[in-house]
């Protein structure tokens, strides 16, 4: 009897040798005359256990990890194909606490299925949402998305349904759906995992968005740093077309939707939606002033829905199970779940999908197991490079857009980067300014000039040249950037900078914040 063995194809698994492990398993099986079928699944997102190899047994899938090539002969000797005992045996995958404690709605198939197999996808509730959408009037689809409470997962948390409604109401020769897959934030990888591990979910979400708004073309703008995601997406799109879920006359409904993958070129600011549209149109990715809103004049001047990968990927489930099911998760106005991403100096880094409302402390310790270095955790940057450094006094706040905004922090895309007590917060603040200087699109002065000045001022503070005056200057500069920038690149760079100086003044050589906390 042939045994099915799963070896992830996610980049984070490939980066620690998953391909070698897969080849070695195939070679050993051949040498021992044992019939094995290797499926390259996505990652479960338990990255400290990659390469996580799973074996299908009558009891369920048994996990082994982290497996390196040299472990493979020993695994065969221990009868791992039968779920045998071995030092790397982790038991049934579904029972691993880190996974079991999660609420995987969007990531339910992640690591379970073959990412590019339409049959596997359908066997796990795939395309149920699209089938349901095809039976509804466009306005009713939009209503479902509105009722679910789904807000954009790309950072700004704007209600998805409102954007869709605007595009549905707009009159034009052509409408577009654009997926923002530029995921440039440090500490975020849930978009990448989706494209590599369950791309058909994004395909389905975009097709639903198209049917809901009348758009027949969609673009996925993927960063060039993600070659594996681009390849997997293209493979999945080809398979979906062949199976009739994309293209002209989707499932005989008379509706059509085409998807095109576009490779970006390494400019962080192209994650900003209007810069992204400029880039898709073939120009330098420079931010456009709003209005006009992209929903009215977006790609090639036409009405355009532009949403993040996770926003679009959340839609199939909402359609399949209904708005109420989704809305039931979460707190306050933050509904549903967010795939939190635990990264940096953390023992158990990985993807944790939970309903909004849990706390950072739970993520850091119950899931993350504390720092990787074993040293005390000092600062946690939440929400990407433009997010604030959150000190321990705030780790018990619920992760909810409004609760974080109230303390001058952001949940953003759910990226969580952990630093231990060796981190020098003045250097991280300097880095935030430097990053802004390198990545600024240059359109407005506060960001373009302010960030370069910011680096200089922080250098003067740390080398104690007129320190008190320079601190005042830095705060003024941040104020100008906050209020005078055209987009959040310049407008949010002060978040990491001010939070660092307010919560860790000693790292700047000053005693206490001389003004109220940011």
């Amino acid at each position: 009897m042939t045994t099915t063995v799963y070896v992830p194809r996610d980049s984070a698994a490939l980066a620690v040798g998953a391909d070698r492990v897969a080849r070695q398993i195939a070679a050993e099986a051949l040498a021992r005359n044992l019939p094995v079928r290797i499926v390259r699944n996505g990652s479960r997102g338990l990255f400290w256990l990659e390469t996580l190899v799973e074996v299908q047994t009558p009891q369920g899938r048994v996990a082994y990890g982290p497996v390196v090539r040299a472990d493979v002969p020993g695994l065969f000797d221990a009868d791992f194909l039968g779920g045998g005992a071995h030092a790397l045996n982790l038991g049934l995958t579904e029972e691993i606490a880190y996974l079991k404690k999660q609420e995987r709605l969007t990531f339910a198939r992640m690591g379970v299925t073959d990412p590019v197999s339409v049959a596997d996808y359908e066997a796990h509730e795939g395309f149920a949402g699209l089938r349901r959408a095809l039976a509804l009037a466009p306005a009713d689809i939009v209503q479902q998305v509105l009722d679910s409470g789904l807000r954009g997962r790309g950072g700004a948390a704007f209600p998805a349904g409102i954007k869709w409604k605007t595009v549905l109401a707009a009159q034009a020769r052509q409408e577009y759906i654009v997926c923002n897959a530029d995921e440039g934030d440090s500490g975020t990888f849930s978009d990448r995992m989706t494209m590599e591990g369950d791309p058909l979910m994004l395909v389905e979400g975009m097709a639903i968005a198209g049917i809901a708004t009348g758009a027949t073309e969609g673009y996925i703008y993927v960063r060039s740093e993600y070659p594996h995601a681009i390849a997997t997406l293209n493979e999945a799109i080809g398979n979906a077309e062949q199976a009739g879920f994309l293209g002209d006359d989707i499932l005989g409904s008379g509706r059509s939707f085409r998807l095109i993958v576009r490779k970006a070129a390494g400019a962080y600011v192209c994650g900003e939606e209007t810069a992204l549209l400029e880039s898709l149109e073939g120009r330098r990715g420079i931010v456009r002033a709003k209005p006009p809103l992209p929903a009215l004049q977006g790609l090639f001047g036409q009405p355009t829905v532009i949403n993040n990968v996770i926003t679009l990927a959340s839609v199939p489930l909402i359609l399949a199970r209904g708005a109420d099911f989704y809305k039931h998760y979460g707190v306050g106005r933050s509904r549903g779940t967010l795939p939190f991403q635990l990264a940096g100096n953390i023992r158990h880094g990985g993807l944790v999908e939970k309903a909004f409302g849990l706390t950072l402390r739970e993520l850091l310790y119950d899931f993350g197991g504390g720092s990787a270095s074993g040293r005390p955790i000092k600062a946690v940057q939440v929400g990407g490079p433009l997010g604030a450094y959150v000190p321990e006094s705030q780790w018990d706040l619920p992760l909810d857009y409004e609760a974080y905004a109230a303390v001058g922090a952001v949940v953003g895309h759910g990226g969580i980067v952990v630093h231990d007590d060796t981190a020098d917060m003045s250097q991280l603040a300097r880095y935030a300014m430097e990053f802004c200087a390198i990545e600024s699109c240059g359109k407005c002065t506060p960001c373009r000039i302010g960030s370069t000045r910011g680096v200089e001022v922080i250098d003067k503070i740390t080398s104690n040249q007129n320190r008190p005056q320079q601190v005042i200057l830095l705060r003024d500069l941040c104020d100008t950037m906050l209020h005078g920038s055209l987009c959040a690149m310049g407008g949010m760079t002060p978040y990491p900078v001010l939070s660092a100086i307010n919560h860790y003044p000693e790292d700047f050589g000053i005693e206490a914040p001389d003004r109220a906390a940011a």
Binding site: V16, F47, P227, A267, E281, A372, F435
Partner: protein, 160 residues
């Protein structure tokens, strides 16, 4: 700036540009095509692309120079990218970058004298839970220590 000695170069660039000129927003895909084929976007390809797209040379040059991904000069045989973003910093990326400069014999944005290596910073490879990370000619590697860095670079050199 180096002269292109490859006579096929301009021809390739012109035909790739021609193939994309009617694609909506086709300039980036065309430039990607040229860089994928030749390893960089040669300065003498710029006027050819401009002609196909009915743009000025300045506009095309502006696009090439705006994006970090596009190169106007060839890279070394191995393009080594070291992540410099926060999650990797939290796990020693700064020291790793210094080590890389020494091992490869070139500074950041530089190419080693023997043309073997180019070193570039990168801002996140999406491997932030397995930091620090690097990529060599698009192949990703995670949890990098200096010793592992040397091993991986040597292996890539032998394979290339």
């Amino acid at each position: 700036m180096t002269e292109t000695t490859d006579t096929a170069g301009p021809g390739i660039a012109a035909s790739i540009a021609a193939a994309h000129k009617d694609v909506p927003g086709g300039l980036l895909p065309a430039l990607h095509g040229i860089q994928d084929a030749q390893g960089y976007v040669p300065p003498d390809a710029v006027p050819l692309v401009a002609e196909q797209f009915n743009l000025s040379r300045a506009e095309v040059h502006g696009v090439v120079s705006y994006y970090h991904h596009f190169r106007s000069a060839p890279a070394g045989r191995l393009l080594v990218q070291v992540c410099r973003a926060e999650a990797c910093k939290a796990m020693g990326a700064d020291a790793l970058l210094q080590h890389a400069e020494q091992r490869l014999g070139c500074g950041v944005h530089g190419t080693s004298a023997d043309g073997q290596y180019s070193l570039e910073p990168v801002f996140c490879l999406g491997l932030c839970a397995s930091s620090p990370s690097i990529a060599i000619n698009d192949e990703v590697h995670a949890r990098i220590t200096p010793a592992l860095f040397d091993e991986i670079v040597e292996e890539a050199r032998q394979a290339s």
